[in-house]
Every structure is written in structure tokens, then in C-alpha cells.
């Protein structure tokens, strides 16, 4: 009954979404405030209805209602509670429903917190949101209905894929979707601006918080996904250039570009058309990402054949929104007035350079991700993996990183490159010293690593150069310097933190790639081996039962200099419902580094095991860096200039920039 109630709520939601798509925009063209006022109410109603549908499905999972097909295929009565909940979005239908829920959530947020938006803009933005909702709800209801019942319910479900029975799955997709869907707001704002044919700095100020929020979530989702793959797959890697990962990286790159170009637009009224284009692009890539992952189209076009209606629907949605968005852009972008002149060497110029690099980087990733698809259309068969992406993406992103500390030090309109470089010479010396130290300590064998450490230090230390130069500690002394710092807008600190986070992530990547130690061997109980300066003794294995699996647990004692440092317990699980084995890596964090052990199954003698071990120096920085980036984003979001209802940007800060 509750399931049918959810199904019905979803159908009603579609009806509301259609109303939200049509009425406000009709109101805009007929200048009818009453019709436009439908938009916020419809958004709230939509959220309520989709939330009811989502709760109904969650309920079916919680009570293990095996008369629902979706629950049978993805749940099991003995599954732990948390995975019963996360199982709701651990499958195609449920994850689409989650997408729709988050979309409705964002729409309602615009309705609630967009109080200072002009009536027409708000109506148009919400109408565009309504189009997206309509497409997704229709897709779910017609091709991916999670509420389908079966005639003869089985006694037990087929269980969730064991790889997905992990706390990572509980968090990762919602975060990623919050990021993807967050860009739908930027898209809606862009389309609304194109409909009205009017766009100004205020537009950028309204859009930026949403872009920033989406970017923070997307960063979190990607980092979480990376860490999940790192510990769950047991391969010890943090990024595999898998199409699924690329699908999330592309919107991130374009979203990062959008974030920066919106700053230019807000401050200088320049780059309007470009910002609108980026907003359309970011959401297009989010859509593409969602569907590439969901349809499985990328690794085999075959997936379309499995369910032709679903494939056709997906293509139709992609064409409609991406094609429609760009067509609209092509027809209406000319009506947007350009403004804001600036010299190539200026803050704007640096941000343009950042934008070009990020977009090109996203472009090469897109090309590498799609080229197997293109080749297979012509009957060939290739796969594009890490070597391609490292060769192409590495240098492009590397050069981008070199420019990062420079940008914030250039003044708006016309910057002084020499002056900026002068303020960075200290940073350069530190980076060079670190690079040289790494080269000297490790001989010439790790030259690339030395360069990598140097660049990481350049980005990390350089991130604080703006704060340093604005505080003027040397001229005005400590006390006044700190006062000056306290007077800076929060977004300045946000920028510094986000850039520093980038440096930290890079440091983690370089350090792990260049200096990790690894050992693969077969061990009998009592055997000892050394890896990365640690001596590891294999104590033995024991078998333990779990909730819906049985587990073979190995115990390893890790010593350094004779004293026991920690015990690592990698294991292999066997999930009975799906008859599927998984391995659970044993990971111990010490300082910022990790000791990582995976169990490869039984060896040739009884009681022996094959193990792979890594000592990964500074590996945690990869994800801690992402956390710092997010903190930077959050700090910028908290800036008073972006807060809803803030009348004007804080003028106080402006003279400081000029004085510098």
C-alpha cells in the first residue's frame, strides 16, 4: 500500500513538474505576476511529492518488502540497516529517484532562499528546473520504475552487490549527485538569462553561491569516491582514469572554471557570454556523466540494446538539454551586452587563462573517454587508459598549477606581472629548495618527483602569498598586519585555502607515486618480510562469521626497529547470497602516511596466503587536500557579499587591492 502511495506521489510529482515548466514562463511572456508566482509553490510541492516517493521506496527496503522487484534484486533481509538504506540508491532505478529528489531539493531551495531575485528571473529559473524535473520524472516512471511489484514474491532477496555494501556507498553517490544537480541551478540561471536576453553582475552574484555549493559537493563526492575505490577495490590506487571517474572529473573541471569566470563577471562585468556558456557546459557534462554511468553506454554501446526504450530516452534527454542549451546559446548570446575591458596581464587575464586551461583539460578528458565509443562505431576496438590521460592531462594541468599562485597577486584591469613575481620570489626559493632537497636525498633517479614536490610546494606556499602581501607584516608590523588580515573578506581566505588544498593533494599524489614501497609475496604463518622500512610478520588466519557473509581474517604484526607499531587485519569475505568473494584491505594510518595490505587468497600450502603490501608516504594528503579545498569553498560561501540579502559588495576591501 505504501509502495503504491509512493508510486502515486511520483506520478503527481510529474504533473506538478509539468505545471512548473509551463505556467511561470507563460506568466513571463504575458507579464502576469500571478502565473509567475506559481513557480515557487510548485517547487515546494514537487519536493514534498518526490520526498514521499523516496520515503516509500526506503520503507520498502527497510521492511524488506520482497514483493517489490527493486527490493528483491538489491536487498536481503539480513543486510545491516545502513546498507538497507543505502541500497535504495545502489541500483539504477533508486539512484535516478535520488537524482530527482536532489533536483527537487535544489529547486525548493531556490524558491525559499531566492527572496531577493527579481520575479521574472526567479520564475524562469524555476521553470527551467521544472523542465529538468519533468524529463527525469518521466524517465523514471516510464523506463525505470522502482515501484514495480512481482506476482509471486520470493522468500529472500538477491542482496546488494557486496562491493557496494560499504559505508562509502552510503555517502558517495548522494554527495556526487548534490554536485551534479547543483550545476542544474547554474544551467537554469543561464537559460533564464538567455530567455530574458539580459544579464549583469548581479546575475553572477546570484549564481555564484549555487555554483560554489555544487562545486564543494562535487569535490567531496569525487574525493569520497576516490578514497572508496582506494580501500574497497584493494588495488591500492586512488585514481584509475575509469570512464566513471572521468565522468565526474569533467564537470568538476568546467565547474571550477565557471567558479572563476563568475568572479570576473561579478567584479568586472566581463566574460558574460563565456560564463553563460560554461554554466551550460558544466550541467551538460553533469548530465552526460550521470547517464554514462547509469546506462553503461561507454564501455559497451551494448547496454543500450539491453533496454532499448531506456537508451532512446536517455539519448533524447541528452539531445534536448545539451542541444537545446547550446542552440539557445547560439541564438540568444548575441543579445547579451559585452562589457569590462582588461589588459591581458591582469587578474581577469589570469582567470581567463585558468578557464582556457581547465576547459581544454576537460576537453581532452572528454575526448579520451569518448574515443573508444567513436572507434567502436567504426568497428574497431580500443581502450584508453591511464597512459593517455597521464600524457595529455598531466602537462596541461601541470602548467595550470604553475599559474595558480600568480593569479590572486595580479590587480584587476591591469596587473603588474613583475610586481607579482617579485612578491612570489620567496615562494619560488622555498619551492626550489624543496625540489632540490628531494633530488639531493634521492639522487637523480627521482627527478620527476623532485619537480613534482617543487610544484606542489609552489602551489601550497604560493596560496598564502596574497594574504602575506595584503597583511604587509614587514612594513606595518605584526599587530597592524593581523588587523589588516582580519579586515580582509572571507573569500580571500577561501581562495587561499582552496589553492592550498590543491597543493596538498598534489603533494600526496607526487609523494605516493614516487616513493611508495611495495611487496607481493606468499607468506606462511610466522613468516616475516620487510617493506618500506617496516618488518611485517604474518601471524595466521582465522575464520569468522559476519551478518550476511563469512570472513577469513589474517593478522599481521608490523614492527619498526624491533617495537610493534601496529596490527593489520586484511580479510577476504564471502557473500553467501550472491556467492561472491570480496577482499577487504587492511589499512593503518600513521601520521599522514598509510600502511596498506590486501589479501590475495590462499597460497600453495595450507595456511599460507598471497599478500600485497604498500607503505604509502603522505597518501592521506590526497584526500585531506580535497577537504581543505572544500573548506576554502565553504569559507567563500560564508562571505558576506554572497550572503542572501547582502546589499552591495563590501567596498572596504577595495582600496586595499588598489593600494597594493
Amino acid at each position: 500500500m505504501i509502495v503504491e502511495f509512493g508510486h502515486f506521489a511520483l506520478i503527481l510529482a510529474l504533473a506538478v513538474a509539468i505545471a512548473q515548466s509551463v505556467l511561470p514562463i507563460a506568466g513571463f511572456f504575458r507579464r502576469d505576476p500571478a502565473l509567475m508566482a506559481v513557480a515557487p509553490r510548485a517547487s515546494l510541492m514537487l519536493l514534498l511529492l518526490v520526498a514521499i516517493a523516496f520515503s516509500a521506496l526506503t520503507y520498502a527496503y527497510l521492511v524488506s518488502d520482497f514483493s517489490v522487484l527493486n527490493v528483491i534484486e538489491n536487498s536481503h533481509s539480513e543486510k545491516p540497516l545502513i546498507f538497507k538504506i543505502s541500497g535504495v540508491w545502489g541500483n539504477h532505478e533508486g539512484s535516478m529517484l535520488l537524482w530527482a529528489l536532489i533536483l527537487a531539493l535544489f529547486g525548493a531551495a531556490v524558491a525559499l532562499f531566492g527572496g531577493n531575485l527579481p520575479l521574472t528571473l526567479k520564475a524562469n529559473v524555476l521553470a527551467v528546473q521544472g523542465w529538468i524535473s519533468t524529463a527525469f520524472l518521466a524517465f523514471i516512471l516510464t523506463t525505470s520504475n522502482p515501484f514495480l511489484r512481482v506476482a509471486e514474491p520470493p522468500m529472500e532477496g538477491k542482496d546488494l552487490n557486496p562491493v557496494l555494501q560499504d559505508i562509502g556507498l552510503a555517502i558517495h553517490p548522494p554527495l556526487l549527485y548534490l554536485g551534479y544537480v547543483g550545476f542544474s541551478i547554474a544551467f537554469a540561471f543561464a537559460i533564464a538569462a538567455l530567455i530574458e536576453g539580459r544579464i549583469d553582475a548581479a546575475w553572477a552574484r546570484w549564481v555564484r553561491p549555487w555554483v560554489l555549493a555544487a562545486w564543494i559537493f562535487l569535490t567531496a563526492g569525487i574525493a569520497m569516491g576516490s578514497y572508496w575505490a582506494y580501500y574497497e577495490l584493494g588495488w591500492g590506487g586512488f585514481w584509475f582514469w575509469d570512464p566513471v571517474e572521468n565522468a565526474s572529473l569533467m564537470p568538476w573541471l568546467v565547474g571550477t572554471a565557471l567558479l572563476h569566470s563568475a568572479v570576473v563577471m561579478e567584479k568586472r562585468e566581463a566574460l558574460k557570454v563565456w560564463t553563460v556558456l560554461l554554466a551550460i557546459l558544466a550541467f551538460s557534462l553533469s548530465l552526460l556523466g550521470t547517464f554514462l554511468v547509469r546506462s553503461g553506454v561507454l564501455t559497451s554501446v551494448h547496454a543500450f540494446a539491453n533496454d532499448p526504450t531506456r537508451g532512446v530516452f536517455i539519448l533524447a534527454i541528452l539531445c534536448l538539454f545539451i542541444g537545446g542549451g547550446f542552440a539557445m546559446f547560439a541564438f540568444r548570446a548575441g543579445t547579451l551586452r559585452q562589457g569590462g575591458l582588461f589588459a591581458p596581464l591582469s587578474r581577469e587575464g589570469a582567470l581567463v587563462l585558468n578557464n582556457v586551461f581547465l576547459t581544454v583539460a576537460a576537453g581532452v578528458v572528454l575526448f579520451g573517454t569518448l574515443v573508444p565509443l567513436i572507434v567502436s562505431a567504426f568497428g574497431g576496438a580500443i581502450s584508453v587508459g591511464a597512459p593517455y590521460f597521464n600524457t595529455v592531462f598531466g602537462p596541461l594541468f601541470g602548467v595550470t598549477l604553475l599559474v595558480v599562485p600568480l593569479g590572486p597577486l595580479l590587480a584587476w584591469k591591469r596587473g603588474d606581472l613583475l610586481g607579482a613575481l617579485e612578491r612570489l620570489w620567496m615562494v619560488f626559493v622555498i619551492a626550489a629548495l624543496i625540489g632540490l632537497a628531494v633530488a639531493w636525498l634521492n639522487g637523480a633517479t627521482h627527478l620527476l618527483a623532485a619537480v613534482g614536490f617543487g610544484v606542489a610546494a609552489w602551489v601550497l606556499v604560493g596560496a598564502f602569498a596574497e594574504l602575506w602581501s595584503r597583511a604587509r607584516f614587514r612594513e606595518v608590523g605584526l599587530a597592524v598586519g593581523f588587523q589588516r588580515l582580519a579586515g580582509l573578506p572571507r573569500s580571500t581566505f577561501g581562495t587561499a585555502l582552496a589553492h592550498a588544498g590543491l597543493g596538498l593533494t598534489l603533494l600526496g599524489i607526487v609523494s605516493t607515486s614516487a616513493f611508495q614501497s611495495e611487496a607481493i609475496l606468499e607468506m606462511k604463518p610466522g613468516d616475516t618480510t620487510t617493506v618500506g622500512g617496516y618488518s611485517v610478520t604474518f601471524d595466521g588466519i582465522r575464520n569468522t562469521p559476519g551478518s550476511n557473509y563469512s570472513e577469513m581474517l589474517a593478522t599481521m604484526t608490523v614492527r619498526k626497529g624491533g617495537t610493534v607499531r601496529f596490527i593489520v587485519s586484511p580479510s577476504r569475505r564471502f557473500y553467501t547470497a550472491r556467492q561472491m568473494p570480496t577482499s577487504e584491505a587492511g589499512i593503518r594510518t600513521h601520521g599522514l602516511s598509510q600502511f596498506y595490505v590486501t589479501l590475495g587468497g590462499e597460497g600453495r600450502e595450507t595456511g599460507s596466503v598471497v599478500v600485497r603490501m604498500w607503505e604509502k608516504p603522505l597518501v592521506t594528503l590526497i584526500w585531506l587536500g580535497a577537504l581543505v579545498m572544500m573548506a576554502g569553498g565553504a569559507l567563500s560561501l560564508a562571505d558576506r557579499r554572497l550572503r542572501v540579502g547582502a546589499p552591495k559588495p563590501a567596498r572596504r576591501a577595495a582600496p586595499v587591492v588598489v593600494a597594493d
Binding site: L169, L341, I382, M580, V610
Partner: protein, 157 residues
């Protein structure tokens, strides 16, 4: 230095052009040498590939061919039931690696025709079972829907 709108535009276009050219150069370079070709065991046996080329081979793990050696080395054969290629791999095999089941190995051939794999993927889901393998196996009538090695629900979001 006073710049006209035109000069500024030229500088912008020049910069963008240079970056694009670099990117395209990198892409072409990578495409020429770092793309992995997909081959079936029969294709490798019938028309030998240049050694050192990065390849991806897919098929079934030949029953009885798996030999474990010291240092985590594993030797096995990948077969499409007509021809087989010997593979050697150092590392942990995926959880779902089993004799008689689908596998994809990525690496390089040496002079002797031995395939040195650096990555071995058993199916976690259909993504790791390229459709060419499936088609090849289906054509020989050894493909079983729903079996381990066959398509199962997607494993990663």
C-alpha cells in the same frame, strides 16, 4: 602601452590557439603510442602484433592453466576456446578470477609471444567484460547469461 580591443583579442586568440595546439599535439602523441588495442587470443595467434605494443586481451581463463609461482607471480592462459595466449602476471588476482571464467588482461607481448600483464580484471560488472569478448564467446556458444563471467548488475555508481 595602450592596447586596442583588437590587439587584446588577438592576444587572447593567440593564447587560446597555442594552448589548444599544445593539447591537440599531446592528444595526437598519446593516440599514436598510448592507446590500448583490444585483441582476442585468436587475433594475436593468427596475426602477430608488434611486440611492445600495449594490448588488452580478453577471453576465458583456460581450465587447468593457472600456475602460482614465487613472489606473487601467476601464469595462466587466456582462451577464446579456439586459441590461447600465455599470460604472466605479478600481483594479486581480482577476487572474481577463476578458471573457466571471463578475464581481461592488459599489458605487452614479448618476443616469445608471452603476454606480460600489468593489470588483470575479472568482471566486477559488465564494464570489465568488453562486448567483443562477449560476442566472441557467444559466437562459439560458450557464453552463459547471468553466470559469473556474464553480465550482472552494475557494480559501481
Amino acid at each position: 602601452m595602450v592596447m586596442t580591443r583588437k590587439t587584446r583579442r588577438l592576444i587572447l586568440i593567440g593564447t587560446v590557439g597555442a594552448i589548444l595546439a599544445t593539447a591537440i599535439g599531446l592528444v595526437l602523441f598519446a593516440l599514436s603510442g598510448q592507446i590500448t588495442l583490444y585483441k582476442t587470443p585468436s587475433e594475436i595467434v593468427e596475426q602477430p602484433m608488434p611486440e611492445g605494443r600495449r594490448l588488452r586481451i580478453g577471453g576465458l581463463v583456460e581450465v587447468g592453466s593457472v600456475v602460482r609461482k614465487d613472489g606473487g607471480q601467476v601464469d595462466f592462459k587466456v582462451t577464446d576456446t579456439a586459441n590461447a595466449v600465455s599470460v604472466t602476471y605479478i600481483g594479486l588476482l581480482p577476487d572474481l578470477f577463476k578458471e573457466g571464467q571471463g578475464v581481461v588482461a592488459e599489458g605487452r607481448l614479448d618476443q616469445a609471444g608471452l603476454f606480460h600483464a600489468d593489470t588483470v580484471l575479472a568482471k566486477h560488472d559488465e564494464r570489465y567484460m568488453p562486448k567483443e569478448v562477449v560476442d566472441a564467446l557467444k559466437a562459439r556458444g560458450v557464453w552463459i547469461e547471468g553466470q559469473p563471467g556474464g553480465p550482472t548488475p552494475s557494480a559501481k555508481n
